[in-house]
Symmetry: C2
Subunit: 346 residues, 2 copies
C-alpha cells in the first residue's frame, strides 16, 4: 500500500513495443494510431489498470479541468443544493468541482483562495461569504483582482471594485412573488422578519417590500421590518420575540428564508398562535426544510439546477477564453404553495 509501484507510460510503451508518444496518443485520442498497436496498448492499459498521472499531464499542458468553488457552509441546504448542482453541471462538461467551505470566516476565504490558486484551478466560483456583503472589503476586492488576472472568478452576489463574472437572480422579483401571494389572500398587515442590512440580497428584498406596499396603497410600518443577526431558526425565533412587543400583530409574515421561518413557527407556537389559522407565513429558498415543517411552508423556490448550470457554464466558458456575458440573470423563481398561508378574514 502507498507504494509508488505505479506503472507509467514508459512501461506500457516498452511492453507494447511502441514509443511513449504512441501510448500518449491512444490515451488522449488526439491522433490516429494503427489499430493493432492501439489494441495492444489498450490491452496493456487494462492489464495494469493504468491511469495516467494527472500531475504530469497537467504540468505538461497546464489544463487541470478543475473548477474551485468556495461556499459558505454546505451544512446549510441552500449551499449544498447549489454545490451539488454545480458538481453535476461540471461533471457533465468534463470538469471536476473542488468544493471548499469558508465556514463564515474571512481568513478561511483567503486561505482557500490561495489553495485553489495553487491547485491551478481553471476558474473559481464564490457563493456566500464576502460576496453577500452589501459593502465589499477593499482588501478582499484587491485579492480577487489579483486572482482575476490569472483565473476567472464567478460570483453569486457582488464584489465592488472588481469585475468578476456575476450570476444572480432578481431578489426583488422573488420578494414580489411572495408579496403578491400574500396580498391576493387579503392580507394588509405584513411583517418582514429576518436578515441583516449588510447583506445585499436582504436589502434588495426590503427595498422591494416597501415598493410593493406603496404600490398596493398599504401603509408602511417601520417596526414591521425586523432584523436578525443570523439566518437560521434562532434568528427567526428572536425576530419573532421583537414582533411580540408590538401593539399590533401582523396577519402575515414574510420570512427571509426557510430556517428563519421555522424559528418563527416555533416562537408563534409557543405564544399560542397557529399557522396559518392566526398568521400566514411565506418564506424563501424552498429548501427541504419547507417540506419538513408543520405546517409545510409556502416558499419562493430557488432554481438550484439552473443556477448551478449557469455558474458552471460561465466558469467553463471563461476558463476556455470564450468571454461569456459578465452579468447573467437567472429567470425568477416560482412560488411553491404549501400549507402556511390562508385567506385573511376580518
Amino acid at each position: 500500500m502507498a507504494e509508488k509501484n505505479d506503472v507509467t507510460i514508459y512501461d506500457i510503451a516498452a511492453e507494447a513495443g511502441v514509443s511513449v508518444a504512441t501510448v500518449s496518443r491512444v490515451l488522449t485520442g488526439n491522433a490516429r494510431v494503427r489499430p493493432d498497436k492501439k489494441e495492444r496498448v489498450e490491452s496493456l492499459i487494462r492489464k495494469y489498470d493504468f491511469r495516467p498521472n494527472t500531475f504530469a499531464r497537467n504540468l505538461s499542458n497546464s489544463k487541470t479541468r478543475i473548477i474551485g468553488i468556495i461556499s459558505a457552509d454546505i451544512r446549510n441546504p441552500f449551499y449544498s443544493n447549489m454545490v451539488v448542482e454545480c458538481e453535476i453541471a461540471a461533471d457533465a462538461l468534463g470538469y471536476t468541482l473542488m468544493i471548499c467551505n469558508s465556514l463564515g470566516k474571512k481568513e478561511n476565504e483567503y486561505k482557500l483562495l490561495d489553495k485553489l490558486e495553487q491547485q491551478q484551478v481553471e476558474a473559481v466560483i464564490l457563493i456566500g461569504g464576502s460576496v453577500d456583503q452589501l459593502v465589499t472589503d477593499l482588501d478582499y476586492a484587491e485579492r480577487i483582482n489579483r486572482l482575476q488576472e490569472k483565473i476567472p472568478v464567478i460570483i453569486k452576489g457582488k464584489l465592488d471594485g472588481t469585475d468578476c463574472y456575476q450570476v444572480n437572480i432578481d431578489e426583488g422579483k422573488n420578494l414580489s412573488f411572495a408579496m403578491e401571494h400574500i396580498i391576493s389572500l387579503g392580507h394588509k398587515d405584513i411583517a418582514f422578519l429576518g436578515g441583516r442590512d449588510d447583506v445585499k440580497s436582504t436589502v434588495d428584498k426590503r427595498l422591494r417590500y416597501r415598493q410593493m406596499l406603496r404600490r398596493y396603497g398599504i401603509p408602511f410600518r417601520e417596526e414591521y421590518i425586523i432584523n436578525a443577526a443570523r439566518y437560521d431558526n434562532e434568528g427567526g425565533y428572536e425576530a419573532t420575540q421583537k414582533l411580540f412587543e408590538l401593539k399590533k400583530m401582523p396577519s402575515a409574515i414574510i420570512s427571509i428564508n426557510d430556517f428563519t421561518a421555522v424559528g418563527i413557527l416555533h416562537a408563534l407556537a409557543e405564544k399560542g398562535y397557529s399557522v396559518p389559522k392566526d398568521i400566514s407565513l411565506v418564506s424563501f429558498d424552498n429548501t427541504f426544510v419547507s417540506e419538513l415543517s408543520i405546517p409545510r411552508l409556502t416558499s419562493v423556490g430557488y432554481n438550484y439546477k439552473t443556477f448551478g448550470e449557469q455558474l458552471v457554464r460561465c466558469a467553463v466558458e471563461a476558463a476556455e477564453g470564450k468571454a461569456p456575458s459578465h452579468s447573467i440573470l437567472i429567470a425568477p423563481d416560482a412560488l411553491v404553495i404549501r400549507d402556511s398561508c390562508r385567506n385573511y378574514e376580518q
Copy 2:
C-alpha cells in the same frame, strides 16, 4: 485573464541572482539558506505574489496531501456534517479534502474512484453508498481491493472481501440508548419504523431492538418493525401508514433517523395523533432537523466531530505509512432529550 504569464521559480532565481535550488530551498524550508539570499528571494516572492505550481511539485515528490472523500449526498445533513468535520480535521493536519458525491448511483462511485485515483489522492474515505450495504457487490470489492494496493481506503461501514480501514460506531449501543429512554418512561408497545434490511446499520439496530425487548421481558411483535424504502420523510410517512393498519397502535415509536421521524410526525398529525401526548417518538442522528421539527425531536446524536477526526486521522496515518488500527470504534453517542417523548400512563 487565463494567461500563462505565471512567474516560475526560474524567474525568481534569475532576479535574485541565485540558483533555482536555492529558491526551492526557501520555498520548502528543507535546508538552510544564507539569510540575505533568503530575504532577497522572499521579497521577490511577495513582489510577484508567486505560488509554486502544485503539479510540478506533486510530480516531483509524489505527495499531494489531498484526501478524497466520496459521500452519498451532502444535501443530506448527515453527510454534510460528516464531510465538513472531515474538512476541518484535514485542514488541521495540513491536508486538503477533495469532496465528491455519488448521489446514490453505483456508476458514480466507480467514476469517482477513478477520478480520485488519477488525482493521486493519498487516501480515500468512503461514507454512504456501497459501504452501507449489508452484502457487498463482488465487483465493487474487487475495485476497492485494486485501489487499496496503491492508496489506503477508509470506510464508515463495511465492505466484505476487502480489508479497508474502518471507523464505525456501535449502532446497537445507540439503539439501546433510545430504547432505555423509552422504556424508562414506561412504554412497552414500541414500534421501530424506517430503514431497509439490506443496510447494515439498520440491521444492527433491529437486532439490538429485539434483544432489548427480550431483556426487559417485553413481547416482540413482528409487525412493529416496519421497513421503508427511503431514509427520508416520505419513508417515514409511508411506514406510518402501514402502522395505521395494525389493530393496536404503539405508545412509542423509534425512528431510523430524523428525516424519517419528520415523515412520521406528519402522518401522525394527519390522523390526529399528537406527539408526545398520544405517542412518543425518538430518532437517530440528531441533525438540525431534530431542532426544527415541532415538537423538537429527542434523538440519539451522532458525534460528527469525533467521527470526522478519526476518519481523517486514520487516513493521514495510513497515507504516511504509520499503520493505524484497522478498525476504530467511536465512543457511543449520547441521547439528546427534547420534546418528543413523555411518560406513559395507562
